[in-house]
């Protein structure tokens, strides 16, 4: 199984799109009339958040595929999707806090549903790796992790809708059914940044899948060559160890 196919094209597309997006942010998109220059954070913070949440949902979708097919590769895909999303979610929380400090004068606002709900989603997924690590049997580990990924993945859109229905407090609403209040040049910049971030996510996902798959295959080859006696038993790991 080759996970690294198309990785070079994806890497180039990510670099081009993100460089283009950041050039548009600083040389094309106008300063926001209300927030001024600080609004430029939006072009990295919001695409990060959207892509991270979509990645969590993708982890759930691969969880379903694993439970249906029993194919270990789907468990690996689910694991890596959630892993990359968690890293991006750290970026969302930090960039959001930086923006909040500049715009609201506080690093964090506890009575703002958007912030707290994202933190809840992040903390929920922070339990995913310890859950995997706590289960030694690879079969059970993959099964339980898939169930977790599906339930948590279903929680993400539900949580998103609940927050949208809640009385909005201070967090800006940029994307809405009426199209938000973004002028054309800001919208274009945002869409390029979103495409770049999505491309980066897929690139990192495939990169890590290829790396993990190579390690797993290498270990299996080593075991076949040296025999089980020649090697130490597999150490417990949160990551899938078999394909």
């Amino acid at each position: 199984m080759t996970f690294g196919r198309g990785l070079r094209a994806l890497s180039i597309a990510s670099v081009v799109l993100l460089t283009g997006a950041f050039a548009l942010v600083f040389f094309y998109a106008p300063n926001d009339a209300d927030q001024g220059f600080i609004q430029k954070i939006f072009y990295v913070h919001v695409p990060l958040a959207i892509v991270a949440l979509c990645g969590f949902v993708a982890g759930g979708v691969y969880g379903i595929k694993y439970l249906r097919s029993g194919d270990r590769a789907d468990d690996l895909r689910s694991y890596v999707a959630i892993h990359i999303s968690l890293i991006l979610a750290v970026g969302v929380l930090i960039t959001g806090s930086i923006w909040a400090r500049a715009a609201w004068g506080h690093w964090w606002v506890w009575d703002e549903p958007t912030l707290v709900s994202f933190l809840i989603v992040f903390l929920l997924y922070a339990c995913y790796q310890p859950l995997r690590f706590s289960i030694e049997d690879p079969e059970r580990q993959a099964r339980y992790a898939s169930v977790f990924a599906i339930v948590a993945g279903a929680f993400v859109p539900l949580n998103f809708m609940a927050v949208r229905m809640a009385e909005s407090l201070t967090h800006p609403r940029v994307l809405s059914t009426t199209g938000g209040a973004m002028p054309g040049d800001m919208r274009l910049t945002f869409l390029v940044a979103l495409a770049g971030m999505a491309c980066l996510y897929v690139t990192l996902w495939k990169y890590e899948l290829a790396s993990k798959s190579a390690s797993i295959q290498l270990r299996s080859l080593k075991r076949r060559l040296a025999g089980d006696d020649g090697l130490a038993p597999l150490a417990r790991s949160a990551a899938p160890q078999q394909l």
Binding site: F22, D32, D34, Q35, G36, F37, I38, K40, I41, V44, H45, L48, I87, L88, V90, G91, I94, T95, I98, W99, R101, A102, A103, W104, G105, L200, L204, Y207, E208, S211, A214, S215, L218, R219, L221, K222, L225, A226
Partner: protein, 61 residues
């Protein structure tokens, strides 16, 4: 809250973009370390294969 002037807003914007860049760099460096480990294991594996071939050769002689 009124918009921050450019001088005050600049460091916040720079910090946000640097956080993003730092996350990607840290991730790539961790992956590079893992790649180094894979490379080392491949080296061990080829050594093992060579040793086996040598042993087989000696047995034949």
């Amino acid at each position: 809250m009124p918009a921050l002037p450019l001088d005050d807003a600049g460091p916040y914007v720079a910090a946000a973009y640097l956080v993003f860049l730092a996350l990607i760099l840290i991730y790539v460096s961790i992956m590079a370390t893992k790649l180094g480990r894979v490379e080392r294991e491949i080296g061990e594996l080829s050594e093992l294969v060579e040793r086996r071939e040598r042993e087989r050769e000696e047995e034949r002689v």
